[in-house]
Amino acid sequence: MAIEKFPVEASHIMMFARSVGDGNPIYHDAEYAKETEPGGVIAPPTFAQASAQFDPTYGLRPKIDGDGWFGSGGKPTGTKPRPSSGGSSGGGGGGGGGLHAEQRFIYHRHLKPGDVLTSTNKPGKTWEKQGRRSGKLVFSESITEYRDQDGELVVTAIGVGVRTERPVDQG
């Protein structure tokens, strides 16, 4: 889905880099980053995925003013997340339903704190396959273009989600 405003912020980049286990100071230390080739803090390569935080329709974030929280509460059933339409991330949906199959980023330049991005999303190809471990698989591609405050294309993201007939067999 379209994102009208994705402000790229230093603390978000720091938290994202931590979560992928990347302690490279270029992601959190402005003084250090000044002396590097990029000349300042940049975002790690998969950071555009965190645009989901700013997608108002993103199905995998509980809506505090909408359908409420999902997951288990007092009972294991809880509420399932709404099936994802793919959205900005091209990711998967609820348990046993959708999974993220492929992801590609094309960097026209690297994101940095202070950028304010917008994104537009369009569907790509869809195809089907018979899976050995999870029944019929339906793949769908979505293409997201991120533009900066000057309207320049900065990152193109191509995601492929897959819907499985049943949870993936293990082993």
Partner: protein, 135 residues
């Protein structure tokens, strides 16, 4: 920091261990940072009793993000021009992951890499490719 085209040849490899004994806490951190709160990644009760998986499992994008660390450590900061992957197996808490980049081409100031991340059993969990600017 950056790679030199003149010093690269097809078949060169670079490897890093991405994570040892992946913790649920890290998966929770990734959920919070990325905004993907699908309970199959963080909620053991939901995942085992409702979704039908043996345990919570990592976001594919966490594996892609961790593999990205290996890539940027190899090619240098700000050098990647393209990075794409397929998620070929699920990653579970307790997994230990190793990632390798293999040079498949060097031309016109760009190195092309094939990427593979495997778990402790040798099963490939991520397969991909990348391009980066070299000197």
């Amino acid at each position: 920091m950056a790679l030199k085209a003149s010093e690269l040849k097809v078949g060169d490899t670079y490897s890093e261990r991405l994570v040892e004994d992946l913790k649920r806490t890290q998966i929770v951190m990734y959920a919070g940072a990325s905004g993907d709160y699908n309970p199959v990644h963080t909620d053991e009760v939901f995942t085992t009793e409702v979704a039908g998986y043996p345990s919570v499992f990592a976001h594919g994008m966490l594996t892609m993000g961790m593999t990205g660390k290996m890539l940027t450590n190899y090619v240098g900061d700000g050098r990647l021009t393209e990075y794409g992957v397929r998620f070929t197996n699920q990653v579970f808490p307790g997994d230990t992951l190793d990632a390798t980049a293999t040079v498949s081409a060097v031309q016109d100031g760009i190195v092309e890499l094939q990427i593979s991340t495997v778990n402790q059993d040798g099963a490939e969990v991520l397969k991909g490719d990348a391009k980066a600017r070299v000197d």
